[in-house]
Structure formats: structure tokens, C-alpha cells
Amino acid sequence: MTTASLDLGRPASQRQSLWRYWRGGLQGSEFTWAVAFIVPYVAVFFAFVVYPVLYGLWMGSNPSLYAEVFSDPIYVNTVVNTIIFLVFGVNVKLFLALLLSGFFMRPGWWTKALLMIFVLPWAVPALPTFISIHWMLNGEWGLVNNALYILFGVDGPSWLNSRWLALGAAICSHVWKWTPFWTVILLAGRMSIPQEIYDAAKVDGATGLRRFLYVTFPLLANLYLVLTLLATIFLLGDFNSVYFVTGGGPANSTHLLATLGVVRDMLELGKPQLGVAAVMSALPLLIPLVIILMRKLRTAEVQL
């Protein structure tokens, strides 16, 4: 089993002298070179991560902003949408990916060819496909309602004019786009489980569902947990699926925190402080997630 650990500790070879430890075992001009090599990244980090973060914290530091944000009914709707999006988006996507990765373990050329088709949503940029989905869901001329009418003689609803249908459409689009990505990762995770373990399990009589429950899943559990955390964080920052599929509409009822802050607060209302405050209200969820994830990625080895 290959272990892809992120070993962030200091190397063990640095126990010689205090001075050498102080410079990380580098001497003279080598130390200068090493410093020169990290300067670009350190500069980027301070200029484009630390500075905007501090600027954002400063913008959102006025407590009266939060009174305004929390009394806004659209903000309350947005929080509900974000929670629904997180719960369904992350879990449906990852559970499907878990099942499909098992399906793609089947031998044969057909599975390989199917996998090539299946990863298309991930390979195609988000923009064209989300615009296409937006048009597909058009109540009058979209492909979905055309198909419903021609095949079943049913008049479909105008999908994007109802809050729940539109939100559901955005979640489905997100799942459509990102399931292949997580499937490929879980597939790699499954492939790294040695065949001997399965052989041993077979001797003990574990087949089918039991094999999955007692062999595959325990070995994938840690990876699955890390992926859930990562998917949650990525989804919290997802802008495209809601922005292009529903545009936040109808009547700003399907925004997520990321789109509400940028699109409505900053661009429509011209109140960027409000947007920053809305985004910052996700920090009580985001910060614990980030801490857990950083610990998981750092100490526990992500077994793939």
C-alpha cells in the first residue's frame, strides 16, 4: 500500500550542532541560495493571501454590519440554501463516487472506454456545460421540457422559476460536474488495496456486500473522511454552479454565501462590506473544518 503522507516535520538528519540546526544544516552561500529560492513563494503568500485576508477581516470588523446581515431575509434564505447544498451536494456526490468506483473496477475494455466518457464533465470547463444546463432547463424552449413533451406529452414546469426546483437543479449540476473527479480518486484508492487481502477474505467466505462492508470500506474509510472534508470546503467556495445555472434567481432565492457576497452585495447593491460580512459568517463552520483537515492531512497518512 503506497502511503502518500505529507511529512511536514523537520528531517531527522539535523541533530549535529546548534548552529547547523539554526540554519537547517546549510552553510554560507548555500543558505543564501535556499532563502532566495523561497522568496518568490513567501512574497506571493504575503501579498495575495495574508494581505487580502487581513483586508477582509478589517472590512468585516464592524459589529453593526452583522446586525444588518442577520436581519436580511435573503441572507437567511441563503444560509438555508448553503446548508442544503452542503448536505446533499457533498454526500450524494461522494456516495455515488464510492459506488461507481466499485463499478469501474470491473475488468474489460468496455469499463475503460466508459470511464473515458464518464470523466467528460470534469474535463470540459464548467462554464459551457453550466450555461448549457441553464438553457436545457428553460421552461419554454429547453431540451428537458421538449423531451418531456415529445416523449410523454407532459408540460414540464419552468424549472428555474421555483426556488426549490432551481436549487435542486443547481445541486444536480454540481453533482454532474464533480462526481467523476471524486470517482477517479476513490478508484485509485480501491486499486491500491492489495489483491491478497481480497483473496484472504474470499477464503474466509466474504463475498459481495460483506466483502465491501468488512474489507473495502474499512480500508477506504480514512480516505473517504478526508475527501468529505475537502469536498465540503470546496463546495462552500463553489461559485459557478449556482451563478450559471440559476443566477441566484428567482428573486435572489437560490444564492449561496459565495455568490450572495459577490453578486448581490458587491455588484448589485454596491456594499462590499455586507458581502464580506456574509462570507465571514461561514467562518464558524470553515475554521474547524480547516483545522481538522490540516491535521488529517499532516499527521494521519492519507492512505491511497
Partner: protein, 309 residues
């Protein structure tokens, strides 16, 4: 299943005739089982193909329609024509006046981001992973932190900062953001891959009098080639596909990229959908080709050091 297996195991002890009998039964049940599993697989395959391809089919269908035909009830284009592709390529609609210029902007942006990510990523991981600079773990942690902050959460402060400095409509402002958010992944992959290159190589070169710069350039970079390809593909696709920052920071007709131009189509009242979808296809082709060309390298990179969407 289990009972038949047990039968088969016990059978030879008794007599020969029931043995062949139960063997036959077992084979038949195995065949039936295989048939069921194949039928299930075919069903799943069919569902997957339909689910995956519908939005893509819709793009192609609309792009093949003539102007006006978009607004009618059908599942196939009534009168398919490649006219809209020609309109896009010859910039024949007022939405598309600067199409090739914007395409060039996208290429420039993606190229610069890829180059800078590779440069900064390799320099950093060389210093931290190979030269083992003191407290290098701080840098790795900073990168990890950047990796887990959603990029869109910094959009508002970033937009205002760039406005304060008058860097709106300047491609370098977008390049800076995208490099910031792509480099952490590069650092992970490079450090992870670098472990497979023996450190003794560096040491012997150093004894022979090579400077760190020479070791970096002549030993480290050539040996890192597979990781460079993986990360380069990742950065290229990220920069080409990214929308939010390009949309916020590049708004003039001359500075915007194809992605922003496509988004602008959507916001107009009478969007010419067939031209828009043709533009979308032309925009999507380079990343798709890149993706399939370097697919195996990319997946190797993904499984090597964590993940990133």
C-alpha cells in the same frame, strides 16, 4: 451461492454421478449470475452515458442550429448547419468582435500562470525538500492553509485591493490570484515526487562543486519532468477554466478572456444561443484535448499528494 459451493465440495466423497450433476448445476448458476451481473452493468452503463452526455449533447445541438431555430420544440436540430461556428471564427457578430483577441488573452493568461506556478513551485520545494532550509515546514503549512481556503471567499477583498491599485483590466492581477491558488498544490506534488529522487545525487554534485542553482537546473528539474507535466496540466486547466476572478478583474472588451465573454452573453436580454454554444465549444476544445492527452499523468498526480478540484 454458498450452498451450491458446499455441495460441490462434498460431492466427490460420495459418488461420481451426483458430482457431475452438482458441478453442472454450479456452472449453470455461475452462468446465470454472470448474465445478471452483465445485464446490471449494461443498465448502469446506459444510465451513466445518458446522464453524462445530455448537457454536452445540448451544447452541440444548439450550436448546429440556425438563428431563430433555437426557439422551437425539437430534440434534434431541424436543419443542422455549421454556420454559427463560421460566425464565431470570423467574428461576425457584434458580441464576438474581439473573439480572437480574447482567445489570445486566455492563452497568455493560462501560459503565464502555468510557467509561474512551475517556477515558484519547483524553487520552493527544492529549497524546502532538497536543501532542507530551516523551518521549511512553516512554508509547507502556509501552502496547506492556502490550499484549503476557498478562493471565492477572498474575491471581494481582492477585487477592492486591485481597484485601489488601479490594476483592473490588467491581466497580471488575475495571473497573481491564479498563481496564488495553484502553487500550493504544485508544492505538494513536487515535494511528494521529490522523495523518489535520491538525495545522494544532490550531495555528490555538491561535492563536485556544483552550486545550488546548478543542482536545481541540471539535476532537479530534469528528474522532476513527470511531476512538471502533471502540475503544468493542472495549472493550465485551472487558469483556462477559471471564471470568477477573470469576471471581476477583467471587464473591458480588450482585456477580457473568452470565459468572461461567454458569461457576458448569458447576461444579455436576447442572447444568440447558437453563437454562444459555438463559442463555448471552441472555448472547451483546448482544455479537453489537454486533459485527454495528459490524463494519466494528471491522475497519478492526484493520487500522489492529496486532491484538488
Amino acid at each position: 451461492m454458498t450452498t451450491t459451493t458446499l455441495d460441490a465440495g462434498r460431492a466427490p466423497v460420495k459418488t461420481d454421478v451426483p458430482a457431475t450433476h452438482s458441478m453442472e448445476r454450479m456452472r449453470r448458476s455461475a452462468r446465470r449470475w454472470r448474465w445478471l451481473s452483465n445485464a446490471g452493468a449494461a443498465l448502469v452503463s446506459a444510465l451513466l452515458i445518458v446522464w453524462t452526455l445530455i448537457p454536452i449533447y445540448n451544447i452541440i445541438m444548439v450550436s448546429l442550429e440556425r438563428e431563430g431555430d433555437v426557439f422551437s420544440d425539437h430534440l434534434f436540430p431541424a436543419d443542422p448547419s455549421a454556420e454559427s461556428f463560421w460566425v464565431v471564427l470570423s467574428q461576425g457578430h457584434w458580441y464576438l468582435e474581439a473573439f480572437w483577441h480574447q482567445f489570445g488573452n486566455s492563452v497568455f493568461l493560462a501560459g503565464m500562470v502555468t510557467f509561474l506556478v512551475l517556477l515558484i513551485g519547483t524553487l520552493t520545494s527544492f529549497s524546502v525538500g532538497r536543501m532542507r532550509i530551516r523551518n521549511g515546514w512553516l512554508i509547507t503549512n502556509a501552502a496547506l492553509l492556502t490550499y484549503v481556503i476557498p478562493a471565492s471567499f477572498l474575491a471581494i477583498p481582492f477585487y477592492l485591493i486591485m481597484q485601489n491599485y488601479g490594476l483592473n483590466n490588467n491581466p497580471w492581477s488575475v495571473i497573481a490570484v491564479l498563481v496564488t491558488f495553484a502553487t500550493p498544490y504544485a508544492i505538494f506534488i513536487f515535494q511528494e515526487y521529490g522523495r523518489s529522487i535520491p538525495i545522494e545525487l544532490d550531495e555528490s554534485a555538491r561535492i563536485d562543486g556544483a552550486s545550488p542553482l546548478q543542482i536545481y537546473y541540471k539535476i532537479y528539474l530534469p528528474l522532476m519532468a513527470p511531476a512538471l507535466v502533471a502540475v503544468g496540466t493542472y495549472a493550465l486547466l485551472l487558469a483556462w477554466n477559471e471564471y470568477l476572478y477573470q469576471f471581476l478583474l477583467l471587464s473591458s472588451d480588450r482585456s477580457m478572456t473568452v470565459a468572461v465573454a461567454l458569461g457576458k452573453f448569458l447576461n444579455s436580454d436576447v442572447a444568440p444561443w447558437n453563437y454562444m454554444m459555438a463559442t463555448a465549444i471552441i472555448y472547451a476544445l483546448p482544455p479537453i484535448a489537454t486533459y485527454y492527452a495528459f490524463r494519466n499523468r494528471m491522475s497519478a498526480g492526484l493520487t500522489m499528494g492529496g486532491v484538488k478540484g
